[in-house]
Each structure stands twice: as structure tokens, then as C-alpha cells.
């Protein structure tokens, strides 16, 4: 059967669910002071970490997380079949340059802040499709590199809107394998782009909430599940504003909401850290997945989670020209058993 692994319109269900053998993350100093500080493998002392530019720092963080995720899983790097990664910078340079150091067959991805969910979903498809037995899936972002590209030069010290989110400095990688012990990727729902016309790039949460809601609703419909199937449904980085909007949209769509919804962007910083609406950036969901979530899964505090990456797919050019922000959400279900 050609479509035997497909369920409904947008979901794939893995026949032999790929296993997350290990995850590794590197974060910046601000993240290392946040509520999840104990779940990070490496915390940088400052935003440069001995590199000449912030871009080099981000590449180094990503390279480190790729190498150490493989090492943590006791997998020699040269036995990995594919290296999947993405980031926020133009032409995804952080991933390209990190992959240059790794030397594995590389697939560069751009899903903005949904990249960790996207790379995980695609990695699982490669493995369950029989095209690979081990895949590295990664994503990274850096506060200063993202600010420079999307908003203003850091030196300008621009004031931020209260509903704006703070780009996370962080890189996270997981090593997926066709066999072994660990949490399994059981299904994935690839999102479609939704654009409700938000043009204020400070308000990414509002731009992303409808797309994330759409993916979650399709996931439940495709698999005939309800939210209470999962111990936790965790969205990527909607932030305080977007997360409230998501709950509102889901409620109005008639979904029976349980209190197991959560958001990486809301969790990563405390309110004393003055980040306004919470965290964002590819690194946000990447470091929460590879740290907090994997720990909880391994300790079996969580048995089943739905990890939904959320991305706003605008560019600095499109926003300067007044275009609205197309957004996307990708969902991956991760289960222990």
C-alpha cells in the first residue's frame, strides 16, 4: 500500500517509530539564569564565548550540540546517515557552517522557529522510510544575530514592544535512530501555512497562533484523538500573547481543552528576566525539547507529549515592504513505552 503510513490529511504514523537516543543543548547566559537552567548541558558565560562575531558563536554552538548529541548517544559521527539542521539567519549560514565542520550528508531546513519540530519530523520520516538508520536533527538561534537581521542593530539599543518576544540564544540537537532505548517519535503532522494578516513583526505570537491551532486540530482529527491523549501538548514559541490566542482559537473551534497545554517560549524565561512576552527563535523549542522535555520523558514523568513547533515565515525585506506574516506549525508526537 502506497499510503499505508498516512493518516488523514496531514499526518504520518510511523510503523517502526524512530528512537531519540540522546539530545544535547548549548544556551546563552540569559537562558542559563532562567527557570530551566538545570536542564541545559552547556551554558555560555557571555554572548560571544571567545568568538569574534555573534554569528561565529551561533555556528560553534550548533556544531557543539551536533557533535555532543552523537557522543552522548555513543554513536560515532561517521555512522550517522543525515545531518538535518536549520536556523534563522539568511541562507541558514549557522547550519551550513556547522555542517561544514561535521562533514555528514546535510539537508538544510528553514522553518523559522518551527525548525526543531520540522527536522525531527523529517528525520523520523527518513528513518521509518528506510532511507537512514541514524539522523542528527538540530536547530539554533542567537539573540544578537537575530536582532541584527530581523530588527535593529544591537548597538542602537532600540526599545522593544511589551508584546515582543526575546530570541533565545541556544542550539539543540537530537540523535534519532531506528533502534535503541529512549522516547519514540510515533507520528508527525506537517502544517500548512496560515496568514491572518498580522503585519507587526513584534507580534509573532499572534501571527503564529492560528497556524499552530490548525496543525493541532488536524493532528487530533487525523488520528481521532482528544487533547487528553497526551500528558503535555507543548507549543514551540508562541509566547505569552500567542499562547493565550492559541487557547482561545482552540476553544472556539470546539476542542475540549484540558490543562495540559504549555509553551516553550513561556517556560524558558521567568517574568523577572524582563523579556516581555517570553522566548522565541529556533533555539527556544530546540533547547526545551533536548533539555526539559527529554528529561521528563526519560524519567517517565511524561509518557506522551505532542511537540508543536511554530514558525513565522516572514523576512526582514517582506516586513519592510509591509507584507503580512505567513506562519506554520509542525507537530511531532513523542512517546515512552
Amino acid at each position: 500500500m502506497l499510503h499505508s503510513k498516512r493518516a488523514g490529511n496531514q499526518t504520518v504514523v510511523f510503523k517502526q517509530p524512530p528512537v531519540i537516543l540522546a539530545g544535547y543543548n548549548v544556551v546563552g547566559p540569559k537562558e542559563g539564569q532562567g527557570p530551566l537552567k538545570d536542564t541545559f548541558d552547556m551554558v555560555l558565560k557571555d554572548s560571544y564565548a571567545h568568538e569574534k562575531t555573534w554569528e561565529k558563536t551561533e555556528m560553534k554552538m550548533l556544531e557543539t550540540s551536533m557533535k555532543r548529541a552523537a557522543a552522548k548517544a555513543n554513536v560515532p559521527l561517521d555512522s550517522v546517515d543525515y545531518n538535518l539542521a536549520g536556523d534563522l539567519l539568511n541562507q541558514i549560514i549557522s547550519s551550513n557552517y556547522a555542517a561544514r565542520q561535521i562533514g555528514l550528508p546535510f539537508i538544510g531546513l528553514y522553518g523559522a522557529c518551527s525548525t526543531m519540530a520540522l527536522s525531527t519530523a523529517l528525520g523520523a520520516m527518513l528513518i521509518d522510510g528506510g532511507f537512514a538508520s541514524k539522523v542528527l536533527c538540530s536547530a539554533s538561534s542567537h539573540h544578537e544575530t537575530a536582532e541584527r537581521q530581523y530588527r535593529f542593530p544591537n548597538e542602537q539599543g532600540n526599545q522593544r514592544a511589551m508584546y515582543a518576544q526575546w530570541t533565545v540564544t541556544g542550539a539543540g540537537s537530537i540523535l534519532l535512530a531506528d533502534q535503541g532505548e529512549g522516547p519514540k517519535i510515533t507520528s508527525a503532522t506537517i502544517g500548512r501555512i496560515l496568514d491572518y494578516g498580522e503585519t507587526d513583526t513584534n507580534n509573532m505570537g499572534a501571527a503564529m497562533a492560528p497556524a499552530v491551532a490548525d496543525t493541532i486540530l488536524n493532528h487530533f482529527q487525523d488520528l481521532s484523538r482528544q487533547p487528553d491523549y497526551y500528558d503535555m501538548i507543548i507549543t514551540g514559541d508562541l509566547g505569552m500573547v500567542g499562547f493565550q490566542l492559541l487557547l482561545e482559537v482552540l476553544k472556539r473551534s470546539g476542542l475540549r481543552l484540558s490543562n495540559n497545554f504549555s509553551d516553550c517560549g513561556v517556560m524558558i524565561y521567568s517574568s523577572e528576566q524582563d523579556t516581555h512576552a517570553g522566548g522565541s527563535g529556533c533555539g527556544c523549542s530546540a533547547v526545551v525539547l533536548t533539555g526539559h522535555l527529554l528529561n521528563k520523558l526519560k524519567s517517565r514523568e511524561l509518557q506522551k507529549i505532542l511537540f508543536v513547533g511554530s514558525g513565522s515565515l516572514h523576512s526582514s525585506v517582506s516586513s519592510q515592504q509591509g507584507e503580512s506574516m505567513p506562519a506554520i506549525g509542525h507537530a511531532v508526537s513523542i512517546e515512552m513505552n
Binding site: 555573534w54 554569528e55 542593530p153 544591537n154 548597538e155 542602537q156 532600540n158 526599545q159 514592544a161 507587526d200
Partner: protein, 120 residues
């Protein structure tokens, strides 16, 4: 001295508060750059209409140091230039009175660019 400082503080402070409120009470699309250009333009218009002069008389440096003061200086020079040199005086006059501010901006901009290495 207090007679100078207090009015300067009040006038300059109020001008800055207005700029801050422009950013806080509007959508984030109004950036500091918009406020900057708006203040220079506003200073030119108010100065041209003779409405900025009283502020300078009350506030002194409190009115001339903020960016609106630069607009006021430009238009003041242009008007004086027009009286002495006609149409060409309009163009030259603004730059003549603004020369100190412009030269300082060029000098310090140059020095900063030499000393620091901006990376983003």
C-alpha cells in the same frame, strides 16, 4: 544658576516625555528613528511659525539641545539667510547656524567608527 537649570530641565524633560509617549502609546511601528526625524521636522515647522522661540527663551538649553532644537536652528538660520542673501541665503543660512552641531556629529561619528568595530 537654579533659575536656568529648572526651566531647562522642565522644558527638555517634557520634550523627551512627549517623544517617549509617541513610542509607547502607538504601535511599535513608530521607532526611535521616526521620533528623531519627526522632532527635527517639528522643530523646523514650529520655528518657522515663530512658536519655538518662546520655548527657547524659557528653557534655554532644554529647548535647543533636543533634536527639535536642531530643526529650530536650521530654520532660524534659513530665515536670517533669506534676509541677508536672498534665495541662496535660505539654503546656506540653515547650515551656517547649524554648523557646530553638524561638525560635532561628523567628528564624533568619524572617531567612533575608527575606535569601535560594529558587528551587528
Amino acid at each position: 544658576m537654579l533659575n536656568n537649570i529648572l526651566p531647562a530641565f522642565l522644558v527638555g524633560g517634557l520634550l523627551c516625555v512627549a517623544g517617549q509617549l509617541l513610542m509607547d502609546l502607538t504601535k511599535a511601528k513608530i521607532t526611535p528613528a521616526h521620533v528623531l526625524v519627526g522632532y527635527v521636522t517639528g522643530g523646523v515647522i514650529l520655528g518657522g511659525l515663530g512658536l519655538y522661540e518662546p520655548l527657547v527663551r524659557i528653557g534655554g538649553a532644554g529647548a535647543t539641545v533636543p533634536l527639535s532644537g536642531f530643526g529650530y536652528t536650521l530654520v532660524k538660520g534659513a530665515i536670517e539667510g533669506a534676509q541677508s542673501g536672498g534665495i541662496l541665503g535660505v539654503l546656506a543660512g540653515g547650515v551656517q547656524t547649524g554648523a557646530t552641531g553638524i561638525a560635532v556629529a561628523v567628528l564624533f561619528g568619524y572617531l567612533t567608527a575608527i575606535v569601535f568595530n560594529p558587528k551587528g
